[in-house]
Symmetry: C2
Subunit: 215 residues, 2 copies
Amino acid sequence: MVEELKKKRVHKPAEERQAEILDAAVLIFASKGYQVADVQTIAEHAGVGKGTVYRHFPTKEELFKQALIRQLDILRCKMLRAHDAYSDPLQQLKAVMSTYFQFFDDHPETIELFVHERAEFGHDETPLYFARMHEHTDDWIPMFEAVKAALPMRDIDVEEMMCLCGEIMHGAVYLSKAIVPSRASHERLEQVFRFYLHGLVTNASIDEIYQLHNL
Amino acid sequence: MVEELKKKRVHKPAEERQAEILDAAVLIFASKGYQVADVQTIAEHAGVGKGTVYRHFPTKEELFKQALIRQLDILRCKMLRAHDAYSDPLQQLKAVMSTYFQFFDDHPETIELFVHERAEFGHDETPLYFARMHEHTDDWIPMFEAVKAALPMRDIDVEEMMCLCGEIMHGAVYLSKAIVPSRASHERLEQVFRFYLHGLVTNASIDEIYQLHNL
DNA sequence: CATAACTGACCGACCAGTCCGTCCGGTTGA
DNA sequence: TCAACCGGACGGACTGGTCGGTCAGTTATG
């Protein structure tokens, strides 16, 4: 009656195995948090033994960070692609923001991963989330410069523009789950984007700008 | 030589004991996180035995939540006091925002506490941080109504105003530690407040508004 | 058969919560 | 005034269970 179904052992290229393990890690870490998630569960979920996990990642901590980096790279990549799809700087900005919101709509577990990183490791080192953000700051400067040039801007420097943009997007996503009734993040794109522009410009009509830039 | 310094046992009113324990709990939970912090350490820090902690709080989780609630109440109370010190709605708003930033400047450990709550318990229940915020939403509606009446507002309803205000303040505080070089939160007050107003109004001169309201 | 990948039982450290002996300090009565 | 007494607050050793990381043995592959 009780079938002893033995999983067949398979050897795979390291890269593929690691990807499987990382996918499982993202899920488990996101749902339980770093401390509570246990490596055994991740291994089972990835369909491998615990020993195998440790063959590919030296410690639980490293496993977590790799899982996180994987997600960060995916997000970053999507944002860059969204940017490159447009030439008008305001369209670029809106597309990037949209991608950001959409990403967290599609992968709510990633929010949890970020939250847990901030809680667990943000204490004494800058979270990878921000480290990476900051590391790649330069990539976005040209866009913000262009936005600035395109708008009747009040006196704000580019760094401040970027900082505010990051804060408001992060805030919207981070708090999106907490608001009752919770709205899908991307529904908030329009609201947040308009608000952001209003916050930047002097006194021009936002509607004019919208029309001018086909937003 | 080695003095056996035995702590004298002292009986105290329950309330006082609990306050001592909660203060220790805030510190330890904030610095280590919910999972890593151990009750023994909290007990030692409060100058009591572990058993005593469990006399006053049924579980570690309850201890954490009480510690959090304590901080939330302090913050809320300060914000209300700041509000009541002014009659002009814009001055009130600015004062409340200022208090919020100042509080986290003075008690950076409280940020950590919120972060850990979101990570540990925000998963399946609304964090107390937001629950309380939402619970007391009504307290702030009159102020935002008044702000709205005082400004040449674009078409935003009060709920949205409050939501955006919360997000931008939370974002500024939450990210304040991540930015390099990190600025004291309160230094950002002016920047964030102006940004917020710009985001609300139609096309009036912010400077006019500032002068009119003595900001 | 040689080698590399894989496995999971095992070890030791760690910790939430318990439990009972200890001792404080308020009360009583002579 | 003070000594004997007692309720209950207190302390901390202990227990039971958990989990990160290891390693000796097993299985696939060439």
